[in-house]
């Protein structure tokens, strides 16, 4: 029981303490985004990790859920409907689940690669339809709403961002526990069986198609909750919420985090938002870094970041971590950092050069202005990279001999 309760208490504590550690308003909005993205990735992993269903259209459910939530908020603002704001994400979830009932019936008829391709077609279909009916979805501009409606309840008006953060954190905690608990139910177990061997699951009397369908509806529900939360957070929902790009981002983040572990999507969602919202404030090239990082993960650690964490934890616990290993790890870092620095320098300069006169300001690092047309910075980048790669080569050679 203690083993079970402790991680959840820790998670709740982190959620509770995060805005106290990072009280700035920019950090707070970043944390709110992380919360919704983590929930979205968790719901996606019900398909990818638990059910082996590689979906390219998960944003459809969260996006349509967000549209449902914002319409409800607007009806509430008109006074046509009395509904507590705290429960608006539930409406988003129900909208998402309803869409899951409709669309999932088509997609879950197949598994494997065909499923992936159908979801790809479906996401295009839905996002084109969303643009086709501006009366319902607001066209290119989207639909905006207002989260402060009526009198504050218990002093909570959801005006300040901190209250929205705690709303997101609360929903995230509840949903995460629900998703985790679903894994242990017979449905969760059979879903794993269907993932590993659909034929044998069918032989013991479960229809794999039906199991996938149910899993998809549940996953769409949690995705819709996440969509409802982001509708409250941003107070605007636009067509790109259901688009293929956002679906791709969910997939990327979940895989980077590690789909085989329950906490993988949590790591992935946090890292993903760091890339897309935090890094993008500093550099134009963030999508390049994200893509490169993703490929690096796929090629070297297909289990994702969570598998690296898991391995590290195992080594620490087994007591095999001695000074020799520590020295090797530090040596690796010392070799890898120049490679990274050289790569970043070269990428930044390349982006700066490609922007040409469009660039707002010259490239500046710690007071050092980089002239992208001079040979010296490029030589520095090349030297850093080649030196680092040579050092990594040596590091590997050393490991092989001992």
């Amino acid at each position: 029981m203690k083993r079970l309760l402790l991680p959840w208490l820790g998670f709740a504590l982190v959620l509770l303490a995060a805005p106290l550690v990072f009280p700035q308003s920019a950090a707070l909005s970043l944390l709110s985004q992380m919360g919704t993205m983590v929930l979205l990735c968790l719901s996606y992993n019900m398909l990818l990790g638990e059910g082996g269903m590689l979906s390219f259209g998960h944003a459809v459910y969260s996006g349509l859920g967000a549209f449902g939530a914002i319409h409800l908020m607007n009806r509430m603002a008109e006074g046509a409907l009395a509904f507590p704001m705290t429960l608006v994400p539930l409406a988003g979830g129900l909208t998402g689940a309803l869409c899951g009932v409709l669309l999932g019936y088509l997609t879950t008829r197949r598994a494997g690669t065909t499923f992936a391709m159908i979801t790809l077609g479906l996401v295009e279909l839905v996002s084109a339809c969303v643009l086709m009916f501006p009366e319902v979805f607001g066209g290119e501009g989207g639909i905006s709403g207002n989260r402060v409606i009526g009198e504050p309840v218990l002093g909570i008006s959801y005006g300040p961002q901190i209250q929205v953060y705690y709303l997101i954190a609360g929903w995230l905690l509840v949903c995460a526990i629900a998703i985790w608990a679903l894994r242990a139910t017979p449905l969760g177990r059979i879903l794993n069986a269907v993932r590993d061997n659909p034929e044998r699951a069918a032989f013991i009397g479960y229809d794999p198609q039906r199991v996938r369908y149910l899993a998809l509806i549940l996953s769409a529900f949690f995705a819709g909750v996440s969509g409802g939360l982001s509708a409250i957070n941003f107070e605007i929902v636009s067509a790109e919420y259901v688009g293929a790009l956002r679906s791709g981002a969910i997939l990327l983040f979940t895989f980077i985090g590690g789909s085989a572990y329950f906490y993988g999507p949590i790591v992935g969602g946090v890292v993903g938002v760091l890339f897309s919202s935090w890094l993008s404030a500093y550099t134009q090239a963030w999508q390049f870094y994200l893509g490169a990082f993703f490929i690096l993960i796929v090629m070297t650690a297909p289990g994702g970041l969570a598998s690296l964490i898991d391995q590290g934890w195992r080594i620490l616990r087994s007591g095999a971590f001695d000074t020799r290993m520590a020295v090797r790890a530090i040596a690796w870092l010392a070799a890898a950092l120049p490679v990274l620095a050289g790569l970043v320098l070269a990428t930044e300069m390349a982006y700066q050069a490609s922007l040409g006169s469009l660039a707002e300001a010259p490239l500046r690092w710690w007071g050092w202005t980089v002239d992208v047309h001079a040979p010296l910075p490029w030589m520095t980048a090349l030297l850093l990279m080649s030196g680092g790669v040579a050092a990594l080569w040596c590091w590997r050679g050393q490991g092989g001999r001992s």
Binding site: G112, T114, C129, F255, F294, V298
Partner: protein, 311 residues
């Protein structure tokens, strides 16, 4: 009559272009067992590389060199990327190509910028081929048709009537047996991957200047060729051919026709929920049609038009 003929020819051109793309995708799909998400990226690379070469050497060398360059790039990706990921299983393999498509878009933006590049039709092919009644049919459309048709004929001859084609076909279905007979199957796969990418690049070279060469062109065509492959039947070249033509025709005719349900005489109260649906014109619906076809096909016949197996 005039409208139908011209639209038919345009649709044929678009369909052939789609097949240049989807034939490579289908071959690679049969080989790897997973779709190559970066396939449309190679199409885009073809257009950009041709633009770069055409600026130095002119269009005709570019027509030859650009597909070769991109084909070699594709072969390198297979050798140094996919082959390594292959041992982790299908999903990482698929995701590798997915990540690659992200990177290629970024790289293209890095080198050529975010705005469309002025990749133009060569002056020799600028002009009117013939005039049907009152509508002019451009030379370049005819040229596109010719190149695509010749390439497809060559592909068919290669696969059906040469020794290497025989080995490729065998390697797609029975790789272990072919390996046992002493053929280097990994090299065959590399060749097929590179060849498929070169075909996609060729489509880019001749399509890039007919349409627009911009960083969004891969995404625009990427999901449509998946529709072609799935609807045609996974791994079936003939199915992909029929579907390419079908979708090419469907899209061109739909874009050209300006009818809506309301214009056909159907009417409801203007404030009812169905009113926006009736006001939609066929031209507005055109981008959705391929995906609609996909969904209908999966309900009626899940293995596709000419598919042998279910995925």
């Amino acid at each position: 009559m005039e409208f139908a003929l011209i639209t038919f020819l345009n649709g044929l051109g678009y369909g052939f272009l789609l097949f240049l793309l989807s034939s490579g995708l289908t071959l690679i799909y049969s080989m790897m067992g997973v779709p190559n998400f970066a396939h449309a990226s190679f199409y885009m690379l073809g257009a950009y590389v041709a633009y770069a070469i055409a600026g130095v050497l002119g269009f005709w060398p570019a027509l030859l060199i650009a597909p070769l360059v991109v084909g070699v790039a594709g072969a390198l990706v297979e050798h140094y990327g996919l082959r390594i990921v292959h041992r982790y299983g299908h999903v990482p393999e698929l995701l590798f190509t997915f990540g690659l498509s992200y990177l290629v878009v970024e790289l293209v933006q890095l080198v050529w910028g975010r705005a469309p590049v002025p990749y133009r039709i060569p002056p020799a092919l600028d002009g009117t081929l013939f005039t049907l009644y009152t509508t002019a049919f451009p030379v370049y459309r005819g040229f596109m048709l010719l190149v695509a048709a010749l390439m497809l004929l060559a592909l068919w001859l290669l696969l059906r009537h040469t020794r290497i084609g025989l080995v490729i076909q065998a390697a797609l279905t029975h790789p272990q047996m072919v390996e046992a007979l002493g053929h280097n199957v990994p090299r065959v796969f590399m060749l097929v991957f590179g060849g498929g990418c070169a075909l996609a690049a060729l489509a880019g070279v001749i399509g890039g200047n007919a349409f627009v060469t911009e960083p969004g062109m891969a995404a625009a065509v990427g999901s449509i060729i998946f529709v072609v492959v799935v609807v045609g039947g996974l791994g079936s070249l003939a199915g992909a051919f029929i579907t390419s033509l079908l979708i090419g025709m469907m899209q061109t005719f739909a874009v050209a026709l300006d009818v809506s349900l309301a214009s056909l005489g159907l009417s409801v109260a203007p404030d009812s929920a169905l009113a926006p649906l009736l006001r939609l014109t066929l031209a507005q619906v055109a981008p959705v049609l391929p995906y609609l076809l996909l969904v209908v096909m999966l309900i009626v016949r899940p293995k596709g038009l000419m598919g042998q197996r279910e995925g």
